[in-house]
């Protein structure tokens, strides 16, 4: 499971995230919504261990990220919004590198690589250098890399950026099956209301670094007291005029 307790992040004088507390149990997909600069990516990067919080604690699968980073990160899969990869490695080599980094046994790593390269339609490109891949292919390769060590926690920033409709559907199906069958906790940051509505079990809306609303779609509907409730309406209402500067 993923747990954030009173997490705050300052960028010099700017407060990007303030006193954020979220808990995502095993097998749940949690959608993290917010306008640009609300603190979504900062939160995601803190959970992924790519950024240290100014205060508060983050734990993954019961391991405190600050105190036991190695254990916490060994059960984590992270998919960032921009596909920065080692351009001079091939797709296959990148997965081999990831397998060693996460100590996946060689035989299992070979099997998983083949399986994931096939699923993400990169098998024919496995020996090409990544610098020749398109944006969408790089994004799919990052996903393959994140799924290779079979993580128990998955953190995803804008999962559909750069994917075509077929790729997007494939990714949604994979995330659903990971949560339902393997009880993986998934934290997804997105701007897309329809994606959050279709994919997520619970939704949190962040505005100006503060969690403004949280619950299932049904709970949010009840809280508004209206049958004509729309997630988009609530989002706009909670975040109107609240667009922040984002991480510097």
């Amino acid at each position: 499971m993923i747990r954030l307790e009173k997490v705050t992040k300052h960028y010099r004088r700017h407060v990007a995230v303030s006193d954020l507390t979220i808990s995502i149990p095993a097998g749940e997909i949690y959608g993290f919504l917010g306008p640009n600069g609300a603190g979504k990516t900062t939160t995601i990067r803190m959970v992924a261990g790519a950024l240290a919080p100014t205060s508060g604690t983050i734990s993954l699968g019961g391991y405190d990220l600050a105190k036991k980073p190695k254990e916490a990160k060994s059960i984590l899969g992270y998919i960032p919004d921009r596909p920065f990869l080692y351009e001079k490695l091939s797709g296959q080599e990148f997965l081999g590198f990831t397998a060693d980094l996460y100590r996946v046994p060689p035989k299992k790593a070979d099997l998983r690589s083949e399986e994931l390269l096939t699923v993400f339609e990169l098998w024919d490109w496995r020996d090409e250098l990544i610098e020749n891949y398109s944006h969408g292919m790089k994004q799919r390769l990052i996903m393959a890399g994140a799924l290779l060590p079979e993580p128990k926690v998955l953190v995803v920033d804008e999962p559909m950026v750069g994917l075509d409709p077929r790729g997007a559907k494939l990714v949604m199906d994979i995330f659903k099956s990971m949560a339902r069958e393997r009880k993986v906790s998934i934290l997804i940051s997105t701007h897309t209301m329809s994606l959050a509505s279709r994919l997520c079990d619970r939704i949190g809306i962040i505005s100006k670094g503060v969690l403004a609303a949280e619950g299932t779609e049904e709970e949010l509907r009840v809280s508004r007291g209206s049958d004509n409730f729309d997630l988009e309406d609530l989002f706009l209402e909670l975040t109107s005029g609240n667009e922040g500067p984002g991480a510097p």
Partner: protein
Amino acid sequence: MREFLTLLKPYRLGLKNYLRDPGPGGKVKLMSLSAFTLSLWVALFLLSVRMIRSFYQVEGFGDILAQKTFGLLWLTGVALLIFSSFITSLSSFYLSRDLSLLMGAPVDRESVFWARSAQSVLASAWMPTAFLLPVFLAYGYAFSAPLHYYALLPLTAVPVMLIACFVSQTVVILLVNVLPARRTRDVLSLLGLFSFVALYLVFRLLRPEQLVNPDNFRTVAGYLASLQTPTSPMLPTTWAADLLWPLLGGQGSQFSMVYLGLIWVMALVSAMLSSYAAHFLYWQGYNKSQEGAGRQRAGGLLNIAASAFRLIRRPEYRAIAVKDFKIFFRDHTQWSQLFLLGALMIIYLYNFSVLNLKRYPLHAFFLENTIAFLNVGLVGLVTATLSLRFAFTSISAEGYSYWIIRSSPLSVRDFMREKLAFWLTPIMLVALFLTFLTNRFLDAAPVMAATAFGLTLLLTPGLCCLGVGLGSRFPRFETENLAQVPTGYGGLIHMVSSSLSLLLIIGLSSWPVVRYLRIRRGMAVWGLKDGILIPLFSLLVLVLAWLLVTRPMRLGREALEVYDEGNAGKEQGGPALGSLDGDRGPVPGGG
């Protein structure tokens, strides 16, 4: 003109914003960098004045020697500028990330070209200007030149630099229309590097120090023939030298403004050529550069060589080692640095091979052994350079992909240790090889050779730790060109720290060594003082060597553990001039 100025705005404003707010600790860094640059200029100026005056002590030839060197300086400066401009104009015209934005904007493409051209000239000209200006000023000072020498200097230098830059730009435009841009950059980088190494080797192997020793030449004719430099009356650099030399050599009557006119006309002609090339070929070449270099497959010999890393037992160490090895040999900008390393080693060994200490038989023993000892310091400097070039940059080489390491179970400590192990092995081998061969050339006593060997073994890990440690303390993950990484603030700190550490350790080791030599030659006798001080000094050396290993690694680890990409640009001491051309990519995240 308005469009041209608008297009230069991001560059101008970026510089203004950086100077206004260079980030935490940035002002201190800026001031220390300025102080360092100023001291370098003063040192260069004083050294040049001394060199020019020493020329004049060679009776009868001093004037010719100073004149030839003056011409050679112009030629070297322009040659460097041409190669530097090749690379910067290729990046500015075809590879910058913001070009797609500009090409889609309602501005004239030729305005884009000229704005980029101006940026490219600034980015490539500042380095030769910074290094040559104090030398040319030293010429004026040493020769008590009239005031109009100083006025004419910029009036001559600016068009000469423009000629070099416009010629490079025209060649780049033509080349991109033949080759894909990315391949052109590789070819030009290699060409530039080969030429630099060749120039350096030729210059060194010609033994220019012999030129100030006319005893080596039987006749005046032979001496003069040896001074032939590759100057031609058709080159603008020759015109520049011929224009200014009469003001230095006191031959004011031979001064002719015709050369200045020629230089300005040539600058105008090269600008026109560049403009024509841009008008007809720039857009076409830009389109071609977007097509990429085609599919490249991984495999072959490199994979076989990389399989040697299977011997590493810890899989995460193996992962980083294999990745670094493959990336190093697939990236032209990285492996081509090996040529520089080769040149450095050849020159170093060559200098020792021609050092004929037997000419001084009375002092040969002391000279050979003292030089063998000081050689450790020189090998240390070579090691420090290698550490800066390879170990220091190895952290920044992760680039934007550093998020992969950051979010993986690999700790920062292990990551740094792996980088250290990867570079320490080859750097140690080079250092020991240089020490061994130079000791052979010097015919040093076995005890001295062993001491030199021991000190090299002791110093090299420390210098490599300094590289990895400071590379982690001052990472530049945002840079596109790894060759720029050692030129930043962190690189400066690395070289200063390495030199000071070497000075301290060699200084402390020198006392026991000198004592040993004196006792061995019967000039002193072994006493109680030696029994106490020699072990004490040795212990101090060991403590210092240990601190050199542990402190920088700790400093680097602490910094990298809290590394914050969002504030990275400002933390690293700000952009170098060459990197203000819009090449800097975005920082991941920012939602």
